[in-house]
Amino acid sequence: MADQAGAQTAALPPRTAVVIGGNRIPFARSGGAYAYSSNKDMLIAALDGLVARFGLQGERIGEVAAGAVLKHSRDFNLTREAVLGSALSPETPAYDLQQACATGLETVVGLSNKIRLGQIDSGIAGGVDSASDAPIAVSEGLRRVLLDLSRAKTTQQKIKVLATLRPKDLSPNAPTTGEPRTGLSMGEHQALTTAAWEITREAQDELAYRSHHNLAAAYDRGFFSDLMTPYRGLTKDANLRADTSLEKLATLKPVFGKGLDTPATMTAGNSTPLTDGAAVVLLGSEDYARANNLPMLATIVDAEAAAVDFVTGEEGLLMAPVHAMPRLLQRNGFTFDDFDFFEIHEAFAGTVLSSLAAWEDPDYCKRVLGLDGALGSIDRSKVNVNGSSLAAGHPFAATGGRIVASLAKTLSEKGGRGLISVCAAGGQGVVAILEAR
């Protein structure tokens, strides 16, 4: 089963890259079941399940790519370390990738491109994040003092360096979801966009309700039975509230956008909570899948990344996928009508609804996206049919793997074509097309 891509000649035309399967651990709420599990622990747990499901023990995979958004500096080789801790052959190469919340999807894009080019035959893409086991750094003041101290030679020099230390330098820095250039949290950024697109509280709660309802229904019909392995006592996403109702969601107090002129509409119910988890996806060429008698759930057709100028307020922080989408559709000669399933990552309910509204707005599409008119409207019943991040939770880098595996399985069951849209910090986003076999 070892990766044989080296035997191909590089001049061959692009091949087809397929999703063979996926595995993730249930997502836990921050401080919950995985409170003491590290990123490496969770990534290995996700890999373990994938290895067992597809019989990859001792196999050399073409390449493993994964990443984490909140990453400790000791985890500089996180993915390679996870491979070495797994049952995969130690001769499996790996690299880390980081593109905020698009990390997981971008690893799928990168490895599927290598497969298409004939550089590798098989790949495992994915991501992991822990909001519980987040790295905490010493303050900038203490860091400078410690570095200067290590360079000081005489006792006198050392005393001089230590004398520059101030009490405030001793407080540690925990990571935040704040944007470095604006100082606004992701929620506050989305609140600006939600208000600009006049997305109502009711519409956001309705989307959150559907996310929980759809995810619960997917569990009930066993949809995740071959996409998930239990970990640390969890067998389901801990954030899932199967019994939530619009009435319950309506009682929650707004948490973002409280300082704006417009009414604050974003609550803990229609925003994703901080979550811990990991997800991986097995990719391969058609030959690899056939030779090893492995399923082919879906073809990875194409992908597009975009970035927007959110710093000046020109565009909303999480609106980059809105810009990537027309470019991807045009390149492939598709419209929204050509798709049967849409996976739009629910960073916030407002993100999904703002994106949908933007694509439906002819004026915005002409003025901002440079189109002739509205990009199109998406049938809401085709969006996130098995639930998404509002219900499952969103361990940043793990979300891409969760979405790709779920969509690929849906396509293998129902046929058709699927579209993925993932927004990310830094005003970035990645969109991708998957197609049933």
């Binding site: 003491y36 290995i44 801790g85 049952a87 970990y231 640390r232 006592g233």
Partner: protein
């Protein structure tokens, strides 16, 4: 397994190790005072504890201290740690002929049928057998078996030495320390740097607060020159490093030579060797400074 039938003693649960160490201390004092003669045989009993469960928090702390991944499969050496108090309760019996405190761990051999999940409930049986002389005293085998229902999943045999203890009928087996073969230093593949707190940190995650591992003072009280690393700590690291993610049966053995003094460094050599039934890794741990082996072992994954 020995031929003598053993009476089974059902324990209400896994006993607490500190209590057993106190019991052993009291027993040792009484024996010294009374100069009581002990029958030169191990009691024909096996102790049993049913329904043993893994605490996920404790498991995570153990895995992270040993540098293994905190996965749901229980490390093979942790299974020993879980079941060890049951074996200890045999060694702490008043009719057990050797003094528990200060006994030296000579070797461990384990056969594990399949990976054990942290959610499984296990039944533990432990007994002592094969009491016999050793050049430096008297040695005994301690056997631990773990079952999941009727299925035997884990068997371990540890050999302990009571240094300087001569039982009435026991002569020497004729081997002397000087007879040890000379040590050829292998090509190193790594090093374990063990801090002075290694024993205390291992005690915290294993629950085994044997004084010889905790500090120089407590170790000296039991005749050691200073604190030494716990044998199962070395074994756990050896097994995990050799086979990080066992997916089938796992068999391993470790033979302890000279103790690892804390703080200290253990230079290691891991050598892959295929054999007919699977992959085998041979391991040696030694002191580069003293050029003496700390342990040799092997791990075989099927």
């Amino acid at each position: 397994m020995s031929g003598t039938p053993r009476e089974e003693v059902m324990l209400p649960g896994v006993p607490a190790l500190p209590g057993l160490y106190r019991q052993a201390l009291g027993l040792a004092a009484r024996r010294r005072m009374l100069r009581a003669a002990v029958a030169p045989a191990v009691p024909a009993v096996q102790h049993r504890a049913d329904g043993v469960r893994v605490d996920l928090g404790a498991l995570t702390r153990f895995q992270q201290l040993l540098g293994s991944a905190a996965r749901d499969a229980v490390p093979s050496a942790y299974v020993h740690t879980l079941a060890f108090p049951v074996a200890m309760s045999v060694l702490a019996r008043p009719d057990f002929p050797l003094p528990l405190l200060g006994m030296v761990h000579l070797s461990n051999e384990v056969y594990q049928e399949r990976p054990i999940d942290a959610a499984e409930t296990l039944d533990v049986v432990a007994w002592a057998e094969h009491l016999r002389p050793h050049a430096a005293g008297t040695q005994v085998d301690v056997v631990i078996e773990l079952r999941m229902g009727a299925e035997l999943v884990w068997t371990g045999r540890s050999v302990y030495l009571a240094r300087g203890v001569r039982l009435d009928s026991a002569g020497s087996d004729g081997r002397r320390d000087e007879d040890r073969p000379s040590f050829a230093v292998p090509t190193p593949t790594g090093v374990w740097r063990l801090g002075a707190d290694t024993g205390r940190r291992y005690a915290a995650v294993s629950g085994d607060w044997n004084p010889i591992h905790l500090s120089g003072l407590t170790a000296k009280a039991l005749g050691m020159t200073t604190a030494i690393a716990h044998g199962m700590y070395l074994a756990a690291r050896m097994v995990d490093q050799a086979v990080p993610a066992p997916s089938g049966a796992l068999q391993w053995r470790i033979d302890f030579a000279t103790p690892v003094l804390l703080p200290g460094s253990v230079t290691t050599s891991f050598t892959r060797a295929g054999d007919e039934s699977g992959r085998r890794t041979d391991v040696v741990g030694w002191s580069a400074k003293r050029r003496r082996p700390h342990f040799t072992g092997w791990v075989r994954a099927e």
